[in-house]
Each structure stands twice: as structure tokens, then as C-alpha cells.
């Protein structure tokens, strides 16, 4: 098991290295001064000079790469070319907002997804099952930025029930929570579809197991079998999907944060793209990639811990 975790972590680091290498080479492959490529034609000579120094652009390619990887490995993501602040500090500042948003989206996805999945199993083969199946695929298909716009339009602009802009202040929990409802719903809705489909499939599988037949033969009611026994078994598959889905939630957060002008990793990346602040974009991409990989590893470990069969397969 330890060996398995170590190997996964090693592979994760290798992947991060390849990602950094790809972005780095892309910057150099484009003809012209890399500083102009990264910062745009409107950047000032001072900014370009600072960027040259930071990246060591006057040295040979392999030295630059060594310098860059060396800085990355100690967690130095460089500086914002406009404000000269360390990128890591900026990311650490907005990270809590994005993490809260992702967790709230999970809450929506699990609450609605499990409820719909249970309903589908209870009414299996009848029209509610059919409708939930169709809706679930629909939820997965519709892009999160469209859902963001619809919720903004309906609840914030037309009905004016919830705030449309910003994240509120942490010191005002109720206001913060209110600002969280719409964006997290918009991101979570796509996952509602996934979760409900997985819950349904896993529960149906569980219903065919001998122990469920035993329960039924003892006269335990269908509702009780579904909600008490089959649901428990299906939560296993939900857990692993959710851990894997974290990366998808981060993607959704980019759009939700922009539509609702929330501070966060996605908004910061977008603002940096608009102002051509390459070090910031590079930093956020590396951090999200690292998060994404970490979630994948956690999902695998979780699956191994919860299911002895997976554990045996890994050894």
C-alpha cells in the first residue's frame, strides 16, 4: 500500500514536471522575444526587463529550464509582473473562496444527486425513472456557464432574491452563505447528473445481491431496502467519483467566478489572461494541476481503503 501511494505521488510529480515543460517550451516555440510573447506588445520595457531577469532569458535554454524547475520545486511561482507580488501569496489569498465554492458545489451535487438517484430506483422502470434519466444526462451536457447565467438572470436580476456580485465578507457568515448559493448551484448541477446516474446504477447492482434478496424474503419493505441497505453500498462509488470530479469543479468555478464576479482562482486566472500576466497564469495552472492530481491520488487511496478488492488488485 505504501509502495502504491509512493508510486502514485512520484508519477504525479512527473506529470507536473511535464506540464511545466510544456508551458515553458510553448513560450519559447513562439517566434519573437519570449517576454513580449508572455506579456504582450503593450508591456513596458521595465516589465520585460524584470521578466527577463526572473526567467533568466539571457541564458541558454537548458539553464533557463533548470532555473525554472528549481524555483518551482521549492514552491516559488514567480512574481506578478504588474504588482511585483509573489504569485504564491496571491493564490493563497483567493484559495479559500474557491475551496468553499467547490465544497458547496459538492453539497448540491450529493444532496440532489442522491435524492434523484433514490427516486429513480424506487420508481424503477416507470416514468419518474425515465424522466430522471433524461434530466441527468441533460444536466451533465449543459455547460456550467449557461447554468450560471440562467441562475443569475432568474434569482439575482429578475427576482432579486440573492446577490449577483462578489463573495461577501467572511466576517458576515450569512451574507457569505447567500453569495455562495447561486454559483455553487450552477457548478454543482452538472455533477447532480453524474451522481444520480451512479447512485442509480450502484443501487440496482446492490439490489441484485443475495443479501438484498434475503432481506426481501424476510419481508423488509422495498423503501427500507432501497434507502437503508442499497444506498449505503452505492455511496462507495459516489465517493470516488466525487474525488475525481474535483478537477471538473475547478473548471466550473472559472466561469461561475467570472459570471458572479467572485474572487477566486478562476477569476484571478481570467484577469491575468486579460492583462497578459503570464507568471500568474502559469502559477494558477500549476496549482490547479497539482490539486487535480492530488485529488486523483486521494480517490485511488480512498477506493483502496473502502474496498478490499481494489486493495488486493493494487498489491
Amino acid at each position: 500500500m505504501t509502495f502504491f501511494i509512493l508510486r502514485r505521488v512520484g508519477l504525479g510529480i512527473a506529470i507536473l514536471f511535464v506540464v511545466a515543460l510544456m508551458l515553458f517550451s510553448l513560450m519559447h516555440m513562439i517566434p519573437g522575444d519570449p517576454a513580449v510573447v508572455a506579456l504582450g506588445a503593450r508591456s513596458t520595457p521595465e516589465m520585460r526587463l524584470a521578466f527577463h531577469e526572473m526567467m533568466g532569458l539571457d541564458r541558454p535554454f537548458y539553464e533557463q529550464l533548470g532555473l525554472f524547475i528549481g524555483r518551482l520545486s521549492v514552491g516559488d511561482l514567480g512574481e506578478d509582473v504588474w504588482s511585483r507580488r509573489p504569485v504564491l501569496t496571491m493564490i493563497a489569498e483567493v484559495m479559500p473562496h474557491t475551496i468553499t465554492l467547490a465544497l458547496a458545489s459538492f453539497a448540491w451535487a450529493v444532496a440532489l444527486g442522491v435524492a434523484l438517484g433514490c427516486l429513480a430506483v424506487l420508481y424503477r422502470g416507470r416514468w419518474p425513472d425515465w424522466l430522471i434519466g433524461l434530466l441527468s444526462i441533460g444536466f451533465v451536457a449543459v455547460p456550467s456557464f449557461v447554468v450560471s447565467l440562467y441562475t443569475l438572470l432568474l434569482f439575482a436580476v429578475t427576482l432579486n432574491w440573492l446577490p449577483a456580485i462578489g463573495a461577501g465578507e467572511m466576517s458576515d457568515p450569512l451574507g457569505y452563505l447567500k453569495a455562495l448559493i447561486l454559483p455553487s448551484f450552477a457548478i454543482g448541477l452538472g455533477w447532480v447528473g453524474y451522481v444520480s446516474r451512479i447512485v442509480r446504477a450502484a443501487m440496482i447492482e446492490a439490489m441484485n445481491e443475495p443479501y438484498v434478496r434475503t432481506l426481501q424474503s424476510f419481508g423488509v419493505g422495498q423503501r427500507r431496502v432501497v434507502l437503508r441497505y442499497a444506498l449505503r453500498q452505492s455511496m462507495l462509488s459516489v465517493l470516488s467519483v466525487i474525488a475525481i470530479g474535483f478537477g471538473g469543479l475547478l473548471t466550473g468555478s472559472v466561469f461561475a467566478e467570472i459570471v458572479f464576479s467572485r474572487p477566486g482562482l478562476g477569476k484571478m486566472t481570467y484577469d491575468a489572461v486579460i492583462t497578459r500576466n503570464f507568471p500568474v497564469v502559469m502559477g494558477t495552472v500549476m496549482v490547479t494541476a497539482a490539486l487535480y492530481i492530488a485529488c486523483m491520488i486521494c480517490a485511488d487511496i480512498l477506493a483502496a481503503l473502502l474496498d478490499p478488492r481494489v486493495k488486493r488488485a493494487l498489491q
Binding site: A14, I15, V18, M22, I137, G138, F145, G247
Partner: protein
């Protein structure tokens, strides 16, 4: 998902008459509500995209200052945007933009993924390991973040959007080709070719490739809605196709800036996106169910 698709092809066998199979598949797709809705929406979108210039009543860039942000009327069925451009025209021509970008980028992705997957599956092990590492790296990036990084370096535009979509699609296609190649490589008909001294190129392109194309097309079909989402999403952020080009994402982007005045442009820009993503997803799912007997029996059980 890709595993299910790859199992399917091996399971369904290769000796059935092709035309018979296509006819049966179409019937099966039509027989489910999912597939029926998918087929109708996909047909509608493809027709609109093909006939767009003849359907559109106005020029997509014709500006009319006096008719800015007009609501739906007889002259402008879906109203106008903040520059007075006819929204119906822009939606219709936007369909063509979305389909063109999707087709070009999926073709480019397939063209890159097939040789890469074949090499990974058939070539030396070190090369396989290296390629798999690159595929894993690309797919461990949240795509929109990687897209934003590419946009910073290359600047916004159609070619950047296509590059982002290719970078997103290549890993999953190449992995499927690789898995398929690996499983076929050990089979007798390939062994026989090797014994008869056939060149690697001949084995790859004459014997392996035809067996890979089917599952690959299903995967590409399931991917279409993601591809449409990526293009529309980047354009919505103002980082996709140029602002004057009619595209669903651009209509949304313009509409978002006036969302407090009127909801019409946002609704007009988003409904085609919803219909297209749902249509292609339903169609793709129905196609997979129809071609994958294993999955289909699980569903009806």
C-alpha cells in the same frame, strides 16, 4: 467510458455486413426516447449549419444604431444586440461557426491521435511510457485553465480555440487507439502477418487502423458537446473567435454585458448551446448503447 467503447468493438465482431449493421443501429437509436430526441436535435443543427447563409435574413455584421437592443419583432424575430445586429441571423450563422470549429478540431485531433496511439501501442516500450506520460499530463490539467494559458501565449482567435480543443481531445483518443492496438497486437491475424514478414506500416494501417476507427468515432461523437462547450465558453470569455464573428459564445458575451437591461440576448445565445450540447450528448449516448450490447443489456435488466 473509453474502455466500454473498446470492449464493444471486440465483442460485436467484425464479420457482420456493414450496411446491415448501420441500418440496425439507426433503428435502435430511434427506438429510445433519448436517441429520438438526439437524432432530431442533431439533424436540425446540422441542417441549420449547412443552410445558414440561405436562412439568415440579414448580414451578421450589419449595424443599425436606431434599433439597438430591440426586443423580438416581425422584422427581427429574436431582437437585436447592443449594436443593432439581428440576433436571429447571428444565431443561425453561429451554428455554422460552432459546427465548423468542432469538425475541424475533431478531424485534426483524430489525425494526430491515430498515429500517436498506434505508435504507443505498437512501438517500443520506452516510447509507449513517454507518450502515456504526456497524455496523462495533458488530461490532468483542467482544460479551461490550460486553454487560458495557451490564449495568453498565442492570443485569442479561431486557431487558438482549435489548438485548445485538439490538446484536450488527443489524449483520450490516442489512449483508446493504444488500448485497441495493444489488445489486437497479440491476436492471431496480426501474428500471421508478422510471420509473413509484413512491414510494420502495413500491419498498422491495413490491419490495425480499420479496427480502431469505429470506437474512435463513437468517442468523438460523445465529445462533440464538450467541444461545442469549449468554443462557446472561450468566446463567452472574449478569448475565442473574434468579436465580430457570429458565434453563440460571442452573443452570450455581448448579452452578459447588458444583462441588467434585457435578458433577451443572453437567452437567445444560450438556448442553441443548450440544444446542441443536449442533442449531441443524447445522440452519442444512444449510439453507444446501440453499438454496445453489453451496456444495453445492463440497462434493460
Amino acid at each position: 467510458m473509453s474502455e466500454a467503447v473498446s470492449n464493444m468493438h471486440v465483442a460485436s465482431g467484425f464479420n457482420q455486413r456493414r450496411s446491415l449493421r448501420i441500418a440496425r443501429t439507426l433503428r435502435q437509436i430511434h427506438s429510445t426516447p433519448l436517441g429520438a430526441i438526439g437524432v432530431v436535435l442533431v439533424t436540425l443543427i446540422v441542417l441549420v449549419a449547412a443552410l445558414a447563409p440561405w436562412i439568415a435574413p440579414y448580414s451578421p455584421t450589419a449595424i443599425s444604431v436606431t434599433e439597438r437592443l430591440a426586443g423580438p419583432s416581425a422584422a427581427h424575430w429574436l431582437g437585436t444586440d447592443q449594436l443593432g445586429r439581428d440576433l436571429f441571423t447571428r444565431v443561425i450563422l453561429g451554428t455554422r461557426t460552432a459546427m465548423t470549429v468542432a469538425l475541424v478540431s475533431l478531424t485534426a485531433a483524430l489525425a494526430a491521435a491515430i498515429p500517436l496511439g498506434l505508435i504507443a501501442g505498437y512501438g517500443p516500450r520506452w516510447l509507449d511510457g513517454l507518450l502515456v506520460l504526456v497524455f496523462d499530463s495533458l488530461s490532468s490539467l483542467p482544460m479551461i485553465m490550460f486553454g487560458l494559458a495557451i490564449v495568453v501565449l498565442l492570443g485569442p482567435g479561431v486557431s487558438t480555440v482549435i489548438l485548445v480543443i485538439v490538446a484536450y481531445s488527443v489524449p483520450s483518443y490516442a489512449r483508446l487507439v493504444r488500448a485497441q492496438t495493444l489488445s489486437l497486437k497479440a491476436r492471431d491475424f496480426i501474428r500471421a502477418e508478422q510471420v509473413m514478414n509484413a512491414s510494420s506500416l502495413r500491419i498498422l494501417f491495413v490491419h490495425l487502423l480499420p479496427n480502431v476507427v469505429g470506437p474512435l468515432l463513437i468517442l468523438a461523437c460523445l465529445d462533440l458537446s464538450t467541444v461545442i462547450t469549449l468554443e462557446a465558453g472561450l468566446s463567452f470569455l472574449g478569448l475565442g473567435v473574434k468579436p465580430q464573428v457570429p458565434s453563440w459564445g460571442n452573443i452570450l458575451s455581448d448579452g452578459f454585458s447588458v444583462i441588467r437591461n434585457t435578458p433577451v440576448p443572453v437567452l437567445v445565445g444560450s438556448i442553441p448551446i443548450v440544444l446542441a450540447t443536449i442533442g449531441f450528448t443524447f445522440f452519442g449516448e444512444a449510439l453507444r448503447d446501440a453499438l454496445d450490447p453489453k451496456l444495453a443489456t445492463e440497462k434493460s435488466a
